[in-house]
Symmetry: C2
Subunit: 139 residues, 2 copies
């Protein structure tokens, strides 16, 4: 397997495991924090809007929403004007998770980039941005 792809996927896996562990300390599972983050940024959006903002399909959001609702972190409420729409609202408990989770993620970010110099870190971000761009531009 090519060098970069191999290394990147290995890193992904480790990063995913680390993020999962961090988030589980607060009763969340990986992926759920992304949905919550979208709601911390802006409450009361529809599953479709949130899916688009998180780059995930709508069914993924509705399933996560169901679990987060069961856990008491958000609630579904119908849109008053358009009955097709559902709007997701944080509960106080869901809102209270913001700081701990953000701290957790920042700690992880700091830990994994700790052995990089400022320059290395900047170069890494630049390179990943370039790669991202190539992929977004399509084949």
């Amino acid at each position: 397997m090519p060098e970069f792809l191999e290394l990147h996927s290995k890193t992904s896996k480790l990063l995913r495991a680390a993020a999962d562990a961090a988030v589980q300390r607060h009763g969340l599972r990986l992926g759920q924090d992304h949905l919550l983050a979208a709601l911390w940024a802006e409450d009361g959006r529809t599953p479709g809007e949130i899916a688009a903002s998180v780059n995930v399909t709508t069914p993924a959001v509705t399933k996560l929403a169901t679990r987060l609702a069961e856990a008491g972190w958000l609630e579904r409420r119908p849109d008053p004007r358009d009955n097709r729409l559902v709007r997701l609202w944080l509960t106080p408990a869901g809102r209270a998770l913001q700081k701990p989770i953000e701290t957790e993620r920042q700690t992880l970010e700091d830990r994994v980039t700790a052995t990089l110099t400022k320059t290395e870190r900047a170069q890494l971000l630049k390179a990943l941005t370039k790669i991202n761009q190539v992929l977004l531009d399509g084949p």
Copy 2:
């Protein structure tokens, strides 16, 4: 979300989608190619051995193996000495996939790193390696 984690996970997603598309052109699904790659490197190993070499759990391998066997790319054969063991062997069809899939992956690697200079590419690999190491060393 912190800068690097955000960027890395976005890249992962795009890379995953691109790799999936590439591999699907040959009738495979993402993940199956890793198992096959392990077999191209060395045939006749057990699910447990392969799982360890690919950094995946054993059940993941047995499920993949079932699907790949149904598709005719590998077969399960019992170990002649130890009846607890199963050994996975490539069929000619499975072996024939090696070159096309490897070409596909190399093409993707070349494409995504095309906009990087040699130096940038080397720095990227170095940085990712460092991050990998931090994660392997554990919390």
